[in-house]
């Protein structure tokens, strides 16, 4: 009884926030520039949370997430631009194909661990990108023009659904199996958990939502090019998850929001932006390697106050 009350409480709150922002957008109080930032924030949150499933929950060190983003982006763009499908269908198809890519990456990677897995995933992402560069159907290196269809509504609800699904997954029996794999794979295996199945599932879910993010990304920036999906993008996503704390979903969300801000507001200082960014990375890693929230969730800090309760 209590559980569902809390659930509905938060659901209503989320709806309220959505409605408020949507209202402000409709009557023109928010400039496109900021709308764009919100949508970017949503995309980053989805990406961070989807990578969180793979790295944070299941402990699979994947640094090729941009590859799935690319697949989702291109496939959804093909759906809307070449086949005139409605946006929702395009998002779904993009995400499904991305999930397929996740399977293709996950299965061979099963035998790999730690650093090797990391480099292998990086390799897969690069291969995906090079495939798109060499495919003239999608414009090759010049890229593909995409109609602008991403709005706050799509972005917000995609984010909401992503967090909902992944959070439920994590708290379920399946999620606990994944966590056990993260903690000690051999022990998990010994306890009868099908590690192969769960590792692949983690990749599939993570890449599915990366595909969703990709679809929204593609329809937000008027044109997509393979150069946007290189390993620097994968690192960007990785930084969200690591900064937030491995194993903390709310941590990933907060880090994604914070870093989107940092990136946007430092747009005026191009040279120093990347230096500050990388310094933040190094300093956080040196002095708090578990990230901002460690593996706890934000509610553990709830008493401190509203603004994220992050402590360094």
């Amino acid at each position: 009884m209590k559980k569902s009350k809390i659930f509905w409480g938060y659901a209503v709150l989320a709806l309220v926030i959505y409605a408020v922002v949507q209202l402000l957008i409709s009557n023109g109080s928010i400039q496109f520039y900021y709308q764009n930032m919100f949508i970017a924030m949503c995309i980053n949150i989805i990406l961070a949370v989807s990578l969180h499933v793979i790295i944070g929950v299941t402990g699979q060190f994947s640094i090729g997430h941009a590859g799935f983003l690319a697949v989702g982006a291109y496939i959804s763009a093909i759906c809307t631009m070449k086949f005139d499908m409605p946006f929702i269908t395009a998002i779904l198809i993009g995400a499904l194909v991305a999930a397929l890519a996740g399977l293709l990456v996950g299965i061979p990677s099963l035998r790999l661990k730690g650093d090797y897995l990391a480099i292998a995933t990086l390799g897969f992402a690069e291969i995906i990108r090079i495939v798109f560069v060499n495919t003239d159907y999608v414009g090759g290196a010049a890229g593909l023009q995409v109609a602008h269809q991403s709005t706050w509504t799509y972005a917000f609800f995609a984010t909401f659904i992503t967090i909902l699904v992944i959070s439920n997954f994590t708290n379920s029996r399946h999620g606990r199996a994944c966590i056990s794999i993260r903690e000690d794979e051999i022990a998990a295996d010994a306890m009868g958990i099908n590690t192969t199945y769960y590792k692949v599932v983690a990749f599939a879910i993570g890449s599915f939502f990366a595909g969703v993010a990709g679809a929204i990304y593609a329809h937000n920036y008027y044109i997509i090019q393979p150069t946007a999906f290189g390993f620097l993008k994968s690192f960007d996503i990785l930084i969200f998850v690591v900064l937030g704390g491995l194993g903390s979903l709310s941590g990933s969300v907060i880090a994604a929001v914070l870093l989107t801000f940092v990136s946007t507001y430092l747009q005026d200082f191009p040279e120093t932006r990347m230096i500050i960014y990388s310094l933040i990375l190094i300093l956080v890693m040196l002095y708090r390697p578990t990230g901002l929230l460690g593996s706890k969730e934000i509610t553990a800090y709830f008493k401190i106050g509203k603004k994220g309760g992050t402590r360094v």
Partner: protein
């Protein structure tokens, strides 16, 4: 006739990969860290060599030595400042820090001198020698000889000196080495120093051979050198040499066959195949994971 030319092309390219791969393999062997910043030390070496040759008008070999020394110092600084604290942290933390250091070096260089490339001045009059119809330039011979010399030097250091013995011991079992009285910290620093010196040399050589250097030049060669190290067997020095040369040749062959746009992908495909089929690499031994 063409094939011999392509082989020469491949070996020249491969020797540069090999030099960088050596540094990767040594560092990984000793602290199990993929030092992403290694590619950027390579870049710094290239720039130091450039300023030495173009601005201070030094001779090539002097420039090479200065670049190597300065890169060794830079490598040790990076290790002490960034990696030392993370020796016992998670793998991911160390990798992230390495990525952070890499980005920091790249963008600091851009901050101070801008992103535009530089051109190495011609240091040798390029003469071509014809062997079996292939035009082999004196440059290619220079590269190969310097690389081979450095690799032999490295083998000597690792197998015939005390510090080399210490490096091998620490990479085998750091705690046991410590118990034996080896100063693990210094050994690790020495490893970084040597690896970075080699990367610096590779940078200068790259600049001489390919002429164009820019702040972001280290990323791709860095990754490919890592792939080469894995190919040969990570942690194994002759493996890095062979892996580098092999990767260079394969890349050139792929390009020669008309798939030049896929040459980068070829490197990654090799990586994935090796990791799946024979993760220990060409020279590696399969170790079973004990519980």
């Amino acid at each position: 006739m063409e094939w011999i030319q392509q082989l020469v092309n491949g070996i020249s390219l491969g020797s540069i990969y090999a030099l960088i791969a050596l540094g990767y393999t040594m560092v990984y062997g000793i602290i199990k860290l993929i030092n992403f910043a290694h590619g950027d030390v390579f870049m710094l070496g290239a720039f130091i060599g450039f300023y030495a040759i173009a601005r201070w008008e030094m001779n090539v070999f002097l420039a090479l030595i200065i670049a190597m020394i300065l890169c060794a110092v830079i490598g040790v600084i990076i290790e002490r400042v960034a990696y030392k604290r993370l020796r016992n942290a998670t793998r991911i933390a160390a990798l992230i820090t390495a990525i952070g250091v890499s980005l920091l070096i790249e963008y600091t260089v851009i901050f101070f001198r801008g992103p535009s490339p530089e051109a190495y001045p011609a240091v040798f009059a390029t003469k071509n020698i014809e062997i079996f119809g292939a035009q082999i330039s004196t440059l290619a011979i220079f590269i190969l000889s310097v690389s081979i010399f450095l690799m032999i030097l490295l083998q000597f250091i690792v197998h015939k000196t005390k510090i080399g013995k210490a490096m091998r011991a620490v990479s085998h079992d750091a705690d046991a080495a410590r118990l034996m009285g080896i100063n693990v910290d210094n050994t690790i620093s020495a490893t970084f120093a040597i690896g970075s010196a080699l990367a610096g040399a590779a940078g200068v050589i790259f600049g001489i051979y390919y002429t164009r250097i820019d702040p972001l030049m280290g990323i791709m060669p860095g990754i490919k050198a890592f792939i080469a190290a894995v190919l040969g067997g990570i942690g194994i020095i002759p493996g890095a040499m062979v892996g580098g040369l092999l990767l260079g040749v394969v890349e050139t062959v792929v390009s020669a066959l008309g798939y030049s746009l896929w040459r980068d992908a070829a490197a990654f495909v090799i990586l994935i195949l090796i990791l799946i089929l024979r993760p220990a690499g060409i020279f590696g031994k399969n170790t079973r994971e004990k519980v």
